[in-house]
Symmetry: C3
Subunit: 241 residues, 3 copies
Amino acid sequence: MLDINEIQKISMDCSMTEFVGTTVLDTIGLVIPGVNDALLQQMQIDKPYKSLGLLSSRTGAAGQINAADEAVKSTNTEIISIELPRDTKGWGGHGNFIIIGGYSVSDVRRAVEIALEYTEKYAGELYISEAGHLEFTYSASASQALNMAFDAPIGKPFGFFCGSPAAIGLVMADLALKSSPVEIIKYMTPNRGTSHSNEIIAAVTGDASAVKNAVLTAREVGLQLLISMGSYPEVPGTPYL
Amino acid sequence: MLDINEIQKISMDCSMTEFVGTTVLDTIGLVIPGVNDALLQQMQIDKPYKSLGLLSSRTGAAGQINAADEAVKSTNTEIISIELPRDTKGWGGHGNFIIIGGYSVSDVRRAVEIALEYTEKYAGELYISEAGHLEFTYSASASQALNMAFDAPIGKPFGFFCGSPAAIGLVMADLALKSSPVEIIKYMTPNRGTSHSNEIIAAVTGDASAVKNAVLTAREVGLQLLISMGSYPEVPGTPYL
Amino acid sequence: MLDINEIQKISMDCSMTEFVGTTVLDTIGLVIPGVNDALLQQMQIDKPYKSLGLLSSRTGAAGQINAADEAVKSTNTEIISIELPRDTKGWGGHGNFIIIGGYSVSDVRRAVEIALEYTEKYAGELYISEAGHLEFTYSASASQALNMAFDAPIGKPFGFFCGSPAAIGLVMADLALKSSPVEIIKYMTPNRGTSHSNEIIAAVTGDASAVKNAVLTAREVGLQLLISMGSYPEVPGTPYL
């Protein structure tokens, strides 16, 4: 039987070869060099990779998906799957669980490292108050992760905005679309596309400046409405937009 | 880039035309005067309204649905959709996201105002302890919102009771049905009808006194069982039943 | 109307005949001696029982399912249903809601008593940190509950391991399967088999020593990875493996 005192002796400085790193939003990055065959079969992956990179957070979705997008853009890897658990540690949104595949361990390890770095950056557009939260992300050129999660056209500008409680997200979407000539490519609600999160999510594409403007409008609207609920949001990073 | 200090300068006293108000249970009421066409198409609303009223909370479902029911009863508006995100800010239940449609902004604004007022009243029958929660609602005459969410016969008395952890809700339902000649019209569980909440939900109809009696029995049972778990519930409002 | 001061007068020492007991993880055990006919019909139980035993928790799934397994093994009762709400009081996992059926109240009451006792024991293999959680369970001989929930072969050794955030659970599964000649019988992810929890869950069968070894490997791996996220887990019981 495990002596409970032994737990405290385990180092926070993990030395396992599978460990890549951790970052904000309770995010961990891991690699599986050559996944067990029986497990691989259960996972129902329809791609030939045996080296897997994993990015997994309790809080945040779009930021980490955008971070994974950067990772696959600059390494010889591919997104295998993106899942959005209903999480956020008691808030109304998602966490994320992203699997990246590659032919070599060093490729997927590098991809996970990049994803962790960008997760820290992109966490700058997450705003969490006592009442709810807002999330934004922007990419000048969407790649495979944003395409898989939000139907983003590959190589095109991509904007994402989301608000919770859900009604805030809908007004953000309405005013963002009215402010800018963008095309809405994804619309998600508690019952549609989400894991029953308390969010309205919208994703847009179009010219870079129009997409960016739509995201900035959504942010301005979202902050006003979220703050009207009686508390100021904290930001787990530094706003980058 | 957003200067994080600018966030603190945003007033809690929201001046946006879309803003109607906020109330207990992290509830916000908003209006969209004339929804953007591309957004409207994504929303897949099969009704002709372009003025939308929104009621959205982190916590509570039956109370706000009953409040929306009062709103559509006394205004020229209609319920468009009711969604129940898995929320309650870390507890085992739902939040809500309700869209009300109308032909004029003033109609939907008035509906949202009424829904906010009744949300405060109906929050009086929500009981939240460290261990779980109970929710009750009663209507002498159900209208469109209660019908859409719980199959309530229009114009008839309606009672609702729910307990979490789920087992408490089942014993509440059993004893309420044994105590009173009511008809059970809705039964929801973690896997059936809910967004995987930790609740058993039952809704009943029948004669006014029988329905009320069933709700009161459910409340008496629920409070005893919830308190047996080791903590007393708080009430975000004032009990009205 | 309910006087709110009356609530404080309700005893925590519940005297209702339906009450069996409470234990760790916000778990309550209840019985319904002869369930109301209209309610029974709504419940869509396809078994002939009218005496129901209920085990229901805010936190934990495998431990309580294993506890219910022990209960049906040693009483004349049967599992009717197992549901896993998305709960854990703000963490990334499940609660549980288990219904046990029997022909007599004393049978189901005894079953619930046993399930409560084993819930306390099996809670010893739940580890909850600020960042996430791990859950393990082991049975030398699986019975009906473990079979229903995880396809465990009846009468065979059964092992279960789960980690959150999800990526931790996947590395646990990979290394457990590599460490021991066991067969994987269940694989669950945020989108597959769970209620959108932030977990990877794996269940295995095989020789007793191999199954136990797989669980111990998973625990060793899981603790290292969970602790790498920056906080030490607490255990709501005493580790028994």
